[in-house]
């Protein structure tokens, strides 16, 4: 399963670590990653991949939702195919 994860929030120490830790715990591999600060907003985009026999999309989403609550971040996870469909011919 391939997905795009986007993380937006007030900049603070350790956002990358928190997200990466959670993904490691879920055994989700980070394939690509970019991060920047827009004003004081932290934005990060991750391309992620994992074995969907081991972890369902819904379970991954629920885990990231918990993290977004506890870390006061907005975390979105969407399967990658939709981006390909819209942006590529």
């Amino acid at each position: 399963m391939k997905a795009i994860i986007t993380v937006v929030g007030q900049d603070q120490v350790g956002i990358v670590a928190k997200v990466a830790n959670e993904l490691a715990r879920l055994e989700i591999n980070i394939v690509d990653m970019s991060q920047t600060l827009m004003e004081h907003n932290f934005t990060m985009m991750l391309s992620a991949e994992w074995d969907d026999q081991q972890l369902s999309f819904a379970a991954a989403k629920a885990a990231l939702e918990d993290l977004s609550q506890s870390a006061s971040l907005t975390i979105r996870i969407q399967r990658q195919a939709v981006f390909d469909a819209i942006q590529k011919l």
Partner: protein, 447 residues
């Protein structure tokens, strides 16, 4: 993939109200026809509830996984006038109630197809169905009804138009809100996923998935980037945006069809507004350069918008169908409501706009005193525009009982609020009462 493309896609959904307006499953009911009405209705209920049993579940799954809001899950069926005709039933309200029960059991938002096709004449089921519409709409909340009264090939059935004026008045006498579930068409299409006019055409496959997209907010935002530039640039920008929006419709439809194991029909390339801020077709026209929708130039701007949406969308998907174009439902578009309330947009201008956009006089409240003949006259005008221009036109008007210009009808939710609009008070009564049939137009010497 570039981060910019990812951000753009997310922004289209999160900030510009891009969504899939509807996934509609079309279901043929021809194999439910029975000489016993009771048995026919049982077959209808069973066929709808088994065919679409996973529709809502699959739509919700797609929304979760891909992060694209899917606003409505709907069903369209073969026009009931054709299905019920073989039964001896004298009125067809029970069929509408069966459709309602099936829709309720499935959790779908709306079900369309309480319909009759009378552009050339009536078969026995058509008369009974049309006579049943007021009671059917009063007895149900999810059932949508439509009647096709004219076409480019067949001409216009003036008898039916006279009758529909009376039916609309009758519905409004009970509750004006119910009028929003009835559309009177010319050149109705067989694969329309949008309500209230959706029905499953007679030439369609047994079951099919059709998708209607939305996204006026995305087009508006894209046009903000080309302010002051030539109109050709505007057209290009709309095409590019429509392409992306339509790709999403194609993508979602393909996945839904695959998961439901039903053939994928068409994407309806429409810009469908909602009363939410930033989700308005009128705002696009204003972004193009009109001080207000309704100003001289509105028809030209809308023609360009409508055409560019189609040009951009056609390449983005396998099969295009439905109504495909810009919708201009007054009550469902915040900026239209403002323009009408401020006296900058009237029915006559809306009528001109319907000659170049996807449908017709849509979600318009008229004074409660408006006569049945006047409503019939409005329908006749729209049908004539559709017949001559070879396009779909429709009328969905709401006579606001006991109200006059200045009042309004509240529909709630996505259906919004319709300010009561002034209607020309001179009467077309004698014209409508002539009845009969306006012959099909000549298809040459186009001027």
């Amino acid at each position: 993939m570039e981060s910019r493309s990812i951000l753009e896609t997310i922004q289209m959904v999160a900030e510009e109200n891009l969504d899939i307006r509807t996934i509609t499953m079309g279901i043929s009911l021809f194999d439910c026809i029975d000489s016993d009405g009771e048995r026919a209705r049982q077959k209808i209920y069973d066929k709808i509830t088994t065919s679409a049993k996973d529709l809502v579940k699959v739509a919700d799954q797609i929304q979760e996984e891909y992060g694209i809001p899917i606003i409505n899950k709907r069903i369209s069926v073969t026009p009931i006038a054709l299905i019920a005709a073989a039964s001896g039933d004298q009125d067809y309200v029970a069929y509408a109630v069966t459709m309602e029960r099936a829709a309720q059991a499935l959790g779908v938002d709306l079900i369309g197809g309480f319909s009759a096709l009378v552009q050339k004449g009536y078969q026995s089921g058509d008369r009974k169905l049309i006579a049943s519409i007021p009671e059917a709409l009063a007895a149900t909340s999810r059932v949508c009804s439509s009647v096709n009264v004219g076409s480019t090939r067949a001409g216009i059935n003036l008898d039916a138009i006279g009758e529909m004026g009376r039916v609309i008045k009758q519905i409004a006498a009970d509750d004006p809100i119910n009028c929003m579930s009835l559309v009177v068409f010319a050149n109705a299409v067989d694969d329309n996923p949008f309500m209230a006019g959706a029905f499953h055409g007679v030439g369609e496959a047994d079951r099919v998935i059709n998708v209607g997209i939305s996204g006026p907010g995305v087009v508006k935002r894209a046009l903000e980037e080309v302010r002051g530039q030539a109109i050709d640039v505007v057209s290009e920008q709309i095409k590019k945006t429509a392409f992306k929006v339509t790709r999403m419709g194609q993508f979602v439809g393909t996945i839904a069809a695959e998961r439901l194991n039903v053939p994928f029909g068409i994407v309806d390339l429409s810009l469908a507004p909602t009363p939410n801020e930033g989700d308005s077709v009128a705002e696009i026209l204003e972004e193009i350069g009109l001080e207000s929708v309704g100003a001289p130039g509105t028809t030209a701007a809308l023609a360009l918008l409508n055409d560019a949406v189609k040009k951009g969308g056609v390449m983005a998907c396998e099969h295009v169908g439905g109504l495909s174009g810009a919708f201009i439902p007054v009550s469902e578009d915040a900026e239209m409501i403002r323009a009408v309330s401020a006296g900058r947009l009237n029915i006559e201008k809306l009528e001109a706009m319907t000659a170049v956009c996807s449908v017709g006089l849509d979600m318009i409240a008229v004074p409660g005193k408006t006569s049945a003949a006047t409503i019939s006259g409005m329908i006749a005008d729209e049908a004539a525009i559709g017949m001559i221009n070879n396009k779909t036109t429709a009328v969905r008007v709401i006579p606001a009982t006991d109200q006059d210009v200045g009042g309004s009808v509240e529909f709630g939710g996505l259906f919004g609020r319709a300010p009561v609009m002034a209607v020309n008070e001179s009467q077309p009564k004698a014209f409508i009462e002539r009845g009969g049939h306006i012959p099909a137009p000549i298809h040459s010497f186009k001027n």
